[in-house]
């Protein structure tokens, strides 16, 4: 229809109602201004998702969040009994502490990569509905396991009291290790979650891989045993193993109150950066195609 006609046409259109927010009294934030700018919404999403996971984990359990403390304690108890009686590792100084520090460090790694790997696949119904930055899901899983990790630190303090190991200023370096470990886990979770979308077989493979990795890391056996491994390249692998380095970093600062060897610190930094870089690279290049495969 010709558009050069009668401006009167528009004026005579019945005026639409000018009451967009009928129920709202004077609010500081109007309904037009309800959104975070695109880059700033992720923090709130992360917070809500972590709080959701946290609530779901402990809802309907009597002891609730106490389990986060109790669980590592009981695990440590079982393992220290088993390994000191059957495998005679009790010659290690402060063996219960040696165990629990390594265990919770391993646990945060295993939990976050396991959950992180599944995060994109599990978020499929959500990703098909709303526009969300996809990387929040793996990152959220790592943050959630960090929350559990922080609770299990209480268990570590209890064991320290029991073992009579006093806290020292060197412990203040432990958060550095935790931050590096988080970056390492975030990178690995990004990588795994992206790959798992395309190769579901990875999900099954990863649990086997984690088990092998756990035995290859001196969690419950003495670090000195690495020297007894016959092949040189295996020894090198075991020293390069990122989890060996993170566990050693934690033990040195928390139990032995010494500065970890330089190569351990450097390894931790390098592994954190390599993992994060690789994870971001793969995730970024693949994330556009996720929606077609989930």
């Amino acid at each position: 229809m010709a558009s050069d006609i009668e401006p009167a046409e528009k004026d005579a259109t019945p005026s639409s109602k000018e009451s967009p927010e009928p129920t709202a009294p004077a609010h500081a934030t109007s309904a037009r201004d309800a959104w975070y700018p695109a880059g700033k919404r992720d923090l709130f999403i992360l917070r809500e998702l972590v709080s959701k996971d946290f609530k779901l984990k402990y809802r309907r359990s009597v002891l609730g969040v106490i389990w986060s403390v109790l669980n590592p304690l009981l695990m440590m108890l079982v393992m220290s009994l088993v390994f000191s009686f059957f495998l005679r590792y009790d010659n290690i100084e402060h063996y219960p502490l040696y165990l629990i520090v390594a265990n919770i460090t391993w646990q945060v790694f295993a939990d976050s990569t396991n959950a992180g790997m599944m995060s994109i696949i599990d978020a499929a119904p959500l990703l098909k509905k709303v526009r969300v930055r996809k990387s929040v899901f793996p990152v959220e899983k790592v943050l959630f396991s960090l929350v559990n990790f922080l609770f299990s630190l209480i268990a570590v303090f209890i064991v320290m009291l029991w073992e009579g190991v006093p806290p020292t200023p060197m412990m203040l370096l432990a958060p550095v290790c935790i931050v590096l470990l988080m970056l390492f886990c975030v990178g690995l979770s990004l990588l795994l979650s992206a790959l798992a979308v395309f190769f579901r077989d990875l999900i099954h493979l990863w649990s086997v891989l984690l088990m092998a990795w756990m035995y290859a890391t001196p969690l419950f056996w003495p670090v000195s045993m690495i020297e007894q491994v016959p092949y040189h390249f295996v020894r090198v692998l075991m020293y390069v193993n990122p989890m060996y380095n993170f566990v050693t970093f934690m033990r040195d600062t928390v139990i032995y109150s010494t500065l970890p060897p330089t190569e351990v610190i450097v390894s931790c930094v390098v592994w954190a950066l390599v993992s994060l870089g690789l994870g971001l690279l793969v995730f970024r290049s693949r994330e556009r195609r996720f929606i077609l495969f989930i």
Binding site: P14, K17, Y36, R47, E48, K52, K55, K129, I291
Partner: protein
């Protein structure tokens, strides 16, 4: 159907309507505009009729007979019931020789139903711009039952994927404040287009740029977890929609009031009926006033009372000048009532893009085939 008639002597006459979309009881002015000729040399017969009900007496006409001292050139049309009306004026010369007629459609909405928002000016800023958008899905043409079969096929280069083009070079522009419709039969790619605009899907080629905030009323209740309470779900869903926390804090009571679920907020969602869940989801999605509202044909949820409430809320949003509306539907009458312009997508191809009346007319003719 033509709204302009060329007259001898270089003139023309165009059927002017004060609106093409009114409500029952509203007054519509019908005026033929003569250009380049003296209107006193012509006689006009005005006729209106409700589409498809000529035989039911839903029509009226005034014949201005020759010899009338003051020929009429304007009429008032006040419809008594909703529907699609044909407004026509027959043009005769002073000798009562029939020259032709000019006619246009008018959509008359019921008292409480949707209205087209005012057409934005031509220089209004762009809200949504789709440039040459194509979407291709790969469908594996064979199903492999074992890894061995897969590798054998891969080695023989027999791993073929059937390309499915859900959208094929679609381009359109939606102005700020406009109501834009996407029509098409089932599986024609309408929803894919909406998902691309909402940012859920990325187009295989082409570009969609959107300026402003979007409220997609396509998939409600994203991220709802049945184990969490309604309150927790409101915050979670709000966060995923990008709402600010302080906004949800302040408007929490509005959401609860709209959903009419006061006192149920600390109950896990699994104890809700599906209607209650849908109400909550709708209330969260519509508590804001977005720049761009994406509406799927499932406009309303819940029981009939709540459906009316939903429609009222969407109506408020649609009729607001600030909101750009993207409506997807195969219910053509809804599109006609709401939209200014329509894009017709058929099997992924853009069949037509233009004024609502033109496109809907063409789409209807497809229905009749």
């Amino acid at each position: 159907m033509q709204d302009t008639l060329k007259l001898d002597g270089g003139g023309s006459v165009f059927l002017g309507l004060s609106s093409t979309s009114i409500r029952v009881g509203d007054k519509l002015e019908v005026t033929p505009h003569f250009r380049g000729v003296e209107k006193e040399n012509f006689l006009c017969n005005y006729v209106w009729n409700l589409e498809g009900s000529w035989d039911k007496g839903d029509f009226d006409s005034t014949i201005e007979h020759v010899g009338h001292t003051i020929p009429r050139y304007t009429w008032e049309f006040v419809p008594k019931r909703p529907g699609r009306y044909r407004i026509a004026v027959d043009i005769e010369d002073s000798n009562r020789r029939f020259l032709g007629n000019i006619e246009r459609w008018v959509i008359v909405a019921g008292k409480n139903s949707f209205m087209r928002p005012p057409v934005p000016p031509a220089d209004a800023p762009t809200a949504v711009l789709a440039q040459d958008v194509s979407m291709i899905f790969n469908i594996a043409s064979e199903q492999f039952n074992s890894l061995k079969e897969y590798f054998i096929a891969a080695a023989k280069h027999e791993l073929t994927f059937k390309e499915f083009r859900a959208l094929d070079h679609i381009s359109f522009e939606v102005k700020h404040g406009e109501a834009f419709g996407l029509v098409g039969t089932n599986g024609s790619g309408k929803s894919t287009m909406l998902k691309i605009i909402a940012g859920v899907l990325e187009p295989s080629s082409g570009k969609v740029s959107v300026s402003g905030t979007i409220a997609p009323l396509i998939e409600l209740g994203a991220g709802f977890d049945m184990e969490l309470t309604a309150k927790e779900n409101i915050y979670l869903n709000g966060a995923l929609l990008g709402y600010r926390k302080d906004f949800i804090d302040e408007h929490f009571q509005d959401i609860v009031d709209f959903a009419e679920l006061d006192g149920f907020m600390d109950m896990p969602l699994k104890n809700y009926s599906s209607g209650m869940v849908a109400r909550i989801a709708f209330a969260i999605a519509t508590v804001t006033e977005p720049d761009i509202l994406i509406v799927d044909e499932t406009l309303s949820v819940g029981d009939f009372l709540f459906q009316q409430k939903c429609e009222k809320r969407i109506k408020e949003l649609v009729e607001s000048d600030n909101v750009t509306v993207l409506l997807v539907s195969h219910d053509i009458s809804l599109v006609e009532r709401i939209c200014d312009r329509v894009c017709w997508i058929e099997k992924g191809h853009m069949r037509m893009l233009g004024e609502t009346d033109e496109v809907c007319e063409a789409y209807r003719s497809l229905e009749r085939d």
